[in-house]
C-alpha cells in the first residue's frame, strides 16, 4: 500500500460537510491500496463541484467542459491504451448535459471508470433540479416542484449492457473504497454512482435520508449481478429502499480491442514516416 499523502494536492474549496470529502478520502485509499501512483492515473472531469475532485488529488488531470468528460476520456483511451482513467462528474453534468455521451460509452465499452457524484441537485449553480431530483423537488425555478419523475441511470445502464454497474454512498466510506477498487480493476466501462449529499441545497435527500434507505445488495438472498433482469429491477429500485453495491457485471470486449493499431502502444510514442510517393500511388 502506498502512503496516502502521496496524493495530497491543493486545499479543497467544498462546503463544510459536503459529501465530496468522504469520497475524496475513500478514493485516495482505494488508489493507495491498489498501488496506483499519481503519475499512472488520469482523472477527467467536467463542470460542477464533482469536477473539482481531481484538483484536490495529486494525479494527472484533464478538467474539461460541462457534460463532455466522457468524450475527452475516450479520446485519451484511444490514444493511450495503458493509462488508468477515472472520470469524475456529477448528476447534472453526466445525466443532463452529457446524456448522449453516456449512451455512446455504454456501447463503446472503453476501459475506464465513470464515477457520478449524485446529489440530486445542481450545487454549483445554487439549487436547481437535476435529472435525478425526485418528483416534487422545489427550487427557485421549480417553486411548484419538479413535475416529472427522475431518471433511473442504473436501470438504463443495465438495459444497455454497461459492463459494470454499482452504487455507493458517501456515508459508507469503507464500502465505497471497495467499490472504487472494484470499478477501477474492472476491464471495461464501469459506472459507479455515488450518493453524495449536498448539505446546502438539498434539504430533502440528506445523509440521514439516504442512511435510512440504503442497503447492501450483496446481502440479499437472491443476489445475482450477472442476471440482467434481476439487475434491472435493482437499478430501478428507488424510494423506501435504495440498493448499494455491485449491481451488474457483464463481460464484453473493450473498445480498445477494436483498434489493432493500439497494440503498438500509446500514439505519442509512435514513429511516423509516410513517404509522399507512397501516399500518391492511389491517384495515378
Amino acid at each position: 500500500m502506498l502512503p496516502l499523502d502521496l496524493y495530497n494536492s491543493i486545499e479543497p474549496a467544498w462546503c463544510p460537510g459536503c459529501g465530496n470529502y468522504p469520497m475524496l478520502k475513500a478514493f485516495k485509499k482505494a488508489l493507495a491500496e491498489l498501488d496506483i501512483r499519481p503519475e499512472d492515473i488520469l482523472l477527467v472531469s467536467a463542470i460542477g463541484q464533482s469536477s473539482k475532485f481531481p484538483h484536490y488529488l495529486r494525479c494527472n488531470t484533464f478538467n474539461g467542459i460541462h457534460g463532455r468528460a466522457l468524450p475527452v476520456a475516450t479520446g485519451v483511451r484511444l490514444a493511450n491504451p495503458e493509462i488508468k482513467i477515472v472520470v469524475t462528474v456529477g448528476d447534472g453534468d453526466q445525466y443532463g448535459e452529457g446524456g448522449n455521451h453516456l449512451l455512446a460509452a455504454f456501447r463503446r465499452n472503453p476501459d475506464m471508470t465513470l464515477v457520478v457524484h449524485n446529489n440530486q441537485v445542481y450545487g454549483l449553480t445554487k439549487g436547481q433540479a437535476s435529472p435525478t431530483s425526485d418528483q416534487g423537488f422545489t427550487s427557485l425555478i421549480q417553486p411548484a416542484g419538479v413535475p416529472y419523475p427522475p431518471l433511473h441511470p442504473l436501470a438504463l445502464a443495465v438495459a444497455q449492457d454497461c459492463s459494470w454497474v454499482g452504487r455507493g454512498f458517501a456515508g459508507q466510506p469503507a464500502q465505497l473504497t471497495e467499490l472504487y477498487k472494484q470499478a477501477i480493476q474492472h476491464r471495461g466501462f464501469a459506472l459507479l454512482e455515488v450518493l453524495q449529499p449536498c448539505v446546502i441545497f438539498n434539504k430533502i435527500n440528506t445523509y440521514h435520508w439516504y442512511q435510512a434507505r440504503v442497503y447492501r445488495v450483496e446481502d440479499e438472498p437472491d443476489y445475482d449481478p450477472e442476471n440482467e433482469l434481476w439487475a434491472y429491477q435493482k437499478g430501478k429500485e428507488w424510494g423506501e429502499r435504495i440498493p448499494t453495491g455491485v449491481i451488474f457485471k457483464k463481460s464484453r470486449p473493450v473498445l480498445e480491442e477494436a483498434f489493432p493499431v493500439l497494440l503498438d502502444g500509446p500514439l505519442g510514442k509512435w514513429q511516423v514516416a509516410r513517404p509522399v510517393a507512397e501516399l500518391l500511388k492511389d491517384f495515378y
Binding site: V44, I47, I65, V76, N100, D264, W270
Partner: protein
C-alpha cells in the same frame, strides 16, 4: 490554339454519372491531358439531377468554366437543362432509352443498352462504358487505356461484367470515331512523367498523413465527410486511429482528449456541426491542447444547401468561441496547397498548442485537379513532442517568453500533467487569483506573435504593375486566376492576390500587395464580403468593388468577368 473542352455528364443519382466520369477522367490523365473535374449534386441518394463537368485541355486547368462542348445526357432532365449551354460545335451523347425527346439541330449520338450490347443484361453498363468509349473516339484518344481502367475499376464484379465493359467501350469508341473529330486531342503529347488526378479533400488527407496525423474523429456531414473518408480508407495502412462519434460536440472533445494524451489529432465538420463544436474550440485554446479542425463550408444559415459550395463561414471561424485566444485559420486554394496546409496545420497546432482551422468547401472537397508528384514535395518530419522541461516539478502552463509551455503527456514519465478549462495557475489547478488570470491570458495571446511570423502563402499572379487587383481567398483562387489571365489577354492588365492563410492576418504582406493598386476588387463566395471586412479591419484598404457569389455554385472565370464588365 489551346485545347480546352468541357464535357458535362449528367443524370439521376444512381444512374452512373460517376461511373462514366471516373474512368474517363483517369484515361485522359494517363494519356497526358490536363483534366479538371467538378461535381454538382443534390441532397438525395437516388433520382434528382446531378452532373459532373470534366474539363480537359493541354495546359494546367485550375478552375471549372461555363459552356458545354460534349453533353452526355443519361436522362431527359439533363438534356433539357444543359442543351442551351452547348457550344456552336458542341455534340450530344444520350441514352435514348431514357430520353423522350431526342435533341434536334445538333450533332448527336444515341446510345441504348440494346444498341450497344444487344441481347445481354448489361443495362446501364452498356450505356456508361459505351459513352466513355464514344467520347474517346470523338477525341481521338486510344480506347485501350480506358479498357484497362474499366477492368481495374469494375474487375471485382466478375468476368461477365468485365467483358460487357470492354465490348461496350470498344463499340462506343467506334461510334464516336465515326462522328468525325472536331475535338481531337491526338496532338497532346504523352506525359513525360505520370500525371495524377486528385481532389482537394484527398490531397488535404495526404498532407495530414504526411504531417504525422495519428488520430481522426468526426460525425458525418456533407461536405466534410469526403475528407473523413479519405483518411479512414487509408487508416489501416498508415496506422491512424479513426472513430465516428455520436455528435460533433463529442468529436472535438475526443480529438482534444486524444491530443492531450499524445496523438496528432484532427476533426472536422460542416455548417451546423461547427456550431456544436464551438465550445470545444475554446476548451482547446484554454487547455492549450493542439487540435486541427476542418470546416468544410456549405451555404447556410442552418441546414442551408447541404450539397452546395460556399465561402460563408470565414467570419464565424475567425470568432468562434468566447473571449480572445490564439488561433490560426488556413484556406487552401488548390489540392496541392491543401496538401501543404494539411501538414502545416498539424505543425502549427503542435507548435503553438492551440486550435488551427482549415476552411474548405464543397467545390474544393470534390473538384479534382491534374498534377505530377513534383507538386507534392516532402513536408518534413512532424515537430518533436513531448518537449521541454520534465520531471517531478513539471508544470503544464509554466510561463515562457513566447507563451508556449513545455508539453508532456500523462503517463509517460514522472510528470503530473494537469490541464484545465478553468483559469489556472502554472501547475494547471483552478484559481481565482485575478493577477494570475492576467498572466495566463497574456501568455496565451503571446502565441499570436509566433503564429503571425509563421503565416505566409500570399500568392500574387499577373502583371505586377497592373492597376487592377482581384483579391480572393480559399478555393476561389483558380477561377480568379483564370479571370486575371483572360483580362490580360484582352488588354486589361490585372493582378491576382490570393490568401490561403487568413489568421493571424498577414497584414504587412497584404498592405504591400495592395499599396500600388488603383482599383481593388474582392472576389468571395459570400454575400457580404467577409474577407473584405477583414482586409479593412487589418489594413485599412477598402475595395472599390465586390464580386460575390452565394447561389451555392463555385466561381467561374466567366461569372467574374461578367460581374466586372459594368465596372470596366
Amino acid at each position: 490554339m489551346a485545347t480546352d473542352l468541357n464535357i458535362l455528364i449528367g443524370g439521376a443519382a444512381g444512374q452512373g454519372v460517376h461511373a462514366i466520369t471516373g474512368p474517363l477522367a483517369k484515361a485522359l490523365v494517363r494519356r497526358g491531358c490536363q483534366v479538371h473535374v467538378s461535381q454538382s449534386y443534390q441532397s438525395r441518394i437516388r433520382g434528382g439531377h446531378l452532373y459532373n463537368v470534366l474539363r480537359v485541355g493541354d495546359r494546367p486547368l485550375l478552375s471549372c468554366r461555363e459552356g458545354v462542348d460534349i453533353l452526355v445526357a443519361l436522362n431527359q432532365e439533363t438534356l433539357t437543362l444543359h442543351l442551351p449551354e452547348l457550344s456552336a460545335a458542341g455534340m450530344v451523347i444520350f441514352d435514348e432509352s431514357q430520353v423522350k425527346q431526342a435533341p434536334e439541330g445538333v450533332k448527336a449520338l444515341a446510345l441504348s443498352p440494346d444498341k450497344v450490347l444487344p441481347e445481354t443484361d448489361a443495362g446501364d453498363i452498356a450505356v456508361n462504358a459505351g459513352a466513355c468509349g464514344a467520347i474517346l473516339g470523338l477525341l481521338e484518344v486510344p480506347v485501350e487505356g480506358l479498357v484497362t481502367l474499366l477492368g481495374e475499376t469494375f474487375g471485382a464484379k466478375g468476368a461477365e461484367v468485365a467483358d460487357w465493359n470492354r465490348r461496350a467501350a470498344q463499340h462506343g469508341f467506334d461510334l464516336g470515331k465515326a462522328l468525325g473529330h472536331p475535338f481531337s486531342l491526338a496532338d497532346i503529347a504523352p506525359p513525360s512523367e505520370p500525371n495524377l488526378l486528385i481532389s482537394g479533400h484527398e490531397a488535404l488527407a495526404l498532407g495530414a498523413l504526411a504531417g504525422g496525423l495519428t488520430f481522426i474523429c468526426g460525425y458525418p456531414m456533407t461536405p466534410w465527410t469526403s475528407l473523413f473518408n479519405a483518411v479512414s480508407q487509408r487508416a489501416e495502412k498508415w496506422r491512424v486511429v479513426v472513430e465516428q462519434t455520436e455528435d460533433e460536440i463529442c468529436a472535438i472533445n475526443m480529438a482534444i482528449g486524444a491530443s492531450f494524451a499524445g496523438a496528432r489529432a484532427m476533426t472536422g465538420t460542416s455548417g451546423g456541426g461547427f456550431c456544436l463544436m464551438t465550445e470545444g474550440v475554446g476548451l482547446a485554446a484554454m487547455s492549450e491542447t493542439p487540435v486541427v479542425v476542418v470546416v468544410a463550408q456549405r451555404p447556410g444559415p442552418s441546414t442551408g444547401l447541404p450539397t452546395r459550395t460556399s465561402q460563408g463561414d470565414l467570419a464565424f471561424v475567425l470568432s468562434a468561441g468566447q473571449d480572445d485566444f490564439p488561433r490560426a485559420v488556413l484556406a487552401p486554394g488548390t489540392p496541392a496547397q491543401g496538401y501543404l496546409l494539411g501538414a502545416k496545420a498539424l505543425r502549427l497546432a503542435e507548435r503553438y498548442q492551440t486550435p488551427v482551422f482549415i476552411l474548405t468547401d464543397q467545390y474544393f472537397a470534390d473538384a479534382q485537379f491534374t498534377y505530377t508528384a513534383r507538386d507534392f514535395p516532402p513536408v518534413g518530419p512532424p515537430p518533436a513532442s513531448p518537449f521541454g522541461a520534465s520531471g517531478k516539478d513539471y508544470e503544464r502552463y509554466s510561463l515562457t517568453e513566447d507563451g508556449v509551455s513545455p508539453r508532456r503527456f500523462p503517463g509517460f514519465g514522472p510528470e503530473i500533467v494537469v490541464a484545465d478549462s478553468d483559469e489556472h495557475t502554472p501547475d494547471g489547478h483552478l484559481t481565482e487569483d485575478l493577477s494570475v488570470r492576467i498572466q495566463m491570458h497574456n501568455k496565451r495571446l503571446m502565441k499570436l506573435k509566433g503564429l503571425y511570423g509563421d503565416m505566409g502563402n500570399i500568392t500574387t499572379m499577373g502583371d505586377p504593375a497592373a492597376p487592377l487587383v482581384l483579391m480572393t481567398w480559399g478555393s476561389s483562387s483558380g477561377a480568379v486566376a483564370e479571370a486575371v489571365a483572360r483580362l490580360g489577354q484582352s488588354g486589361t492588365p490585372a493582378r491576382l492576390v490570393h490568401l490561403a492563410e487568413l489568421w493571424p492576418f498577414p497584414r504587412r504582406a497584404v498592405a504591400e500587395a495592395l499599396q500600388e493598386a488603383a482599383k481593388i476588387v474582392l472576389v468571395e463566395g459570400n454575400a457580404t464580403g467577409q474577407l473584405h471586412r477583414l482586409v479593412r479591419q487589418e489594413t485599412g484598404f477598402k475595395a472599390d468593388h465586390l464580386v460575390v457569389r452565394y447561389d451555392g455554385l463555385p466561381f467561374t472565370p466567366e461569372y467574374i468577368l461578367r460581374e466586372l464588365a459594368p465596372e470596366a
